[in-house]
Amino acid sequence: MENTFQFFDFAAILGAAECSWCDIALDILLKVVFALASIMVVMCFAGLSVVAERKVCAFIQGRLGPNRTAIPIVAAIPVLGNFLKKNGLMQLVADGLKFLLKEDPLPKHVDKFWYMMAPVMSLSPVLIAACVIPFGAYWSGGAMRPLAAANIDISLVFALAIGSLGVYGSMMAGWSSNSKFPYMGGVRASAQVISYEIAMGLSVLSVVISVAADSSAPLSLFEIGRAQDTLWFCITQPLAALIFLIALFAETNRLPFDVAESEADLVSGFHTEYGSFKFGLFFVGEYGHMVVGSSLFIVLFLGAWNPFPGLSWPESWGWVSALFSFLTFIAKIAMMLFFFIWVRWTLPRFRYDQVMRIGWRVLVPLALLNFTAYLVMASI
């Protein structure tokens, strides 16, 4: 890779390499468009997974879930209206509107600045981390290129580092709310994320080493995805995949690890004092974190944009192949989100001490063991 911060090569696609200034302007414009597009992907998924969460949990419990909310004019459209209504998709709009239009109270006892910053801090890292995720691949000038807003050489480290900044949102919320339940929630969230970050980072190393064998940029998500056009890493390194998956559940504060907002003992955890739009930001941030986390898992272990192990979209198909790679990735994200929701409605919550024990006494040693074993195997 010749430059470390290589962006999407739009000029080459559009053949607009003639003039330099319009080239730069076009480049900037397209980057903005692409950044917006990747944010859109994450936000759409975050929104849809809220509906999916409600629908899937209802189905698992033998209920039907939201199927009555109707927007007056849209619901009157013959087939589509009924489809949207039955599948609870209009509930999404209603929820969003509710979060937007509700009164936004600011409790008197909070630290106002950090209280306001916390929801922003929990959502924005997710959106920043989304820009390095390769949502697919395309071919240009005989070389495979990622369908990512920014293709940087250390995108794996970038995504892990920025993605885990989201916990500052929970910590700020917990501290600034100046009330005991959010405080406990914030403490738990930070302790949990710190513990599982280690296991997560260690489990990724073995993948990076195996990519490093035949790539100059093993920390790039694109290169990692590319290395899986034959065998996926979840097949060659199942233990690393399992550790990463468990750590991912803990990182995103999903059940069975959602001690940070366990309703049973902490009311609603770190966002107890929040309401309306600020709560909505936390909510979207949580689901956005799930989307980014699961796309990381997909890139690292589930073969990225390749449809099946041993099968990849051929270069000769051109843009059709690029489109399919994007669709494959999207389908995989959807499946991962379903898995997240499915697990949530299956397992009870771990106790806080159990969470810590699993993190420090099981996952970290296992990840270390996995890493050293892999090192030994690779060096032989």
Binding site: F59, R63, L64, W342, T346
Partner: protein, 178 residues
């Protein structure tokens, strides 16, 4: 003496939780595809069980005579004091003049009614009957106080083959034995 129940030692596989988690996931996915038990209420109505006690109504017999004779037993027995009866005499010109009294006004406050069915049990004429209607609503409290007309409209007609009052009336007019 307390009995110490020996706990089963978990195997290594069981202590990893993973097989249990997988079997749990199978259970939930099986439920996911099962038919749903939700009753979509306003679109589908529930099947009411036998002996269901819905709202109390007044009924007429097959000849259109109101069966209530204003004895006020239901009013007395009503534990929530939802029933209020204003008795009135039947004029001698009426077709039903043999009966002494009929309610001038009969009110049931549905915001007070507890659907216990004691009025139905107390009624010697079987004039007040709890039916299957269960969804009562209105915009004001006054709307939920059902007057005589509303109660008869909700109650309808009950087929009464014997019609005791008619028998007694005929006997007294035609001089038959009692």
């Amino acid at each position: 003496m307390a009995i110490v129940v020996e706990r089963k030692r978990l195997s290594l596989l069981e202590r990893t939780y993973l097989p249990q988690i997988v079997s749990g996931l199978f259970i939930t996915i099986k439920n996911f595809f099962r038919p749903k038990i939700t009753l979509e209420y306003p679109d589908q109505s529930p099947v009411l069980p036998r002996g269901y006690r819905g709202s109390p109504t007044l009924v007429k017999d097959s000849q259109g005579r109101e069966k209530c004779v204003s004895c006020q037993l239901c009013e007395f027995v009503c534990p929530s004091k939802a029933i209020r009866i204003y008795p009135g005499e039947i004029s001698p010109n009426s077709e039903y003049s043999f009966i002494e009294k009929a309610p001038k006004e009969f009110k049931i406050d549905m915001t007070r009614c507890i659907y216990c069915g004691l009025c139905e049990e107390a009624c010697p004429e079987r004039a007040i009957i709890l039916q299957n209607e269960f969804s009562l609503n209105g915009y004001t409290r006054a709307e939920l106080v059902r007057d005589k007309a509303a109660l008869y409209a909700a109650g309808g007609v009950i087929p009464d083959k014997i019609m005791k009052w008619k028998k007694v009336k005929d006997n007294s007019e035609l001089g038959g034995s009692h």
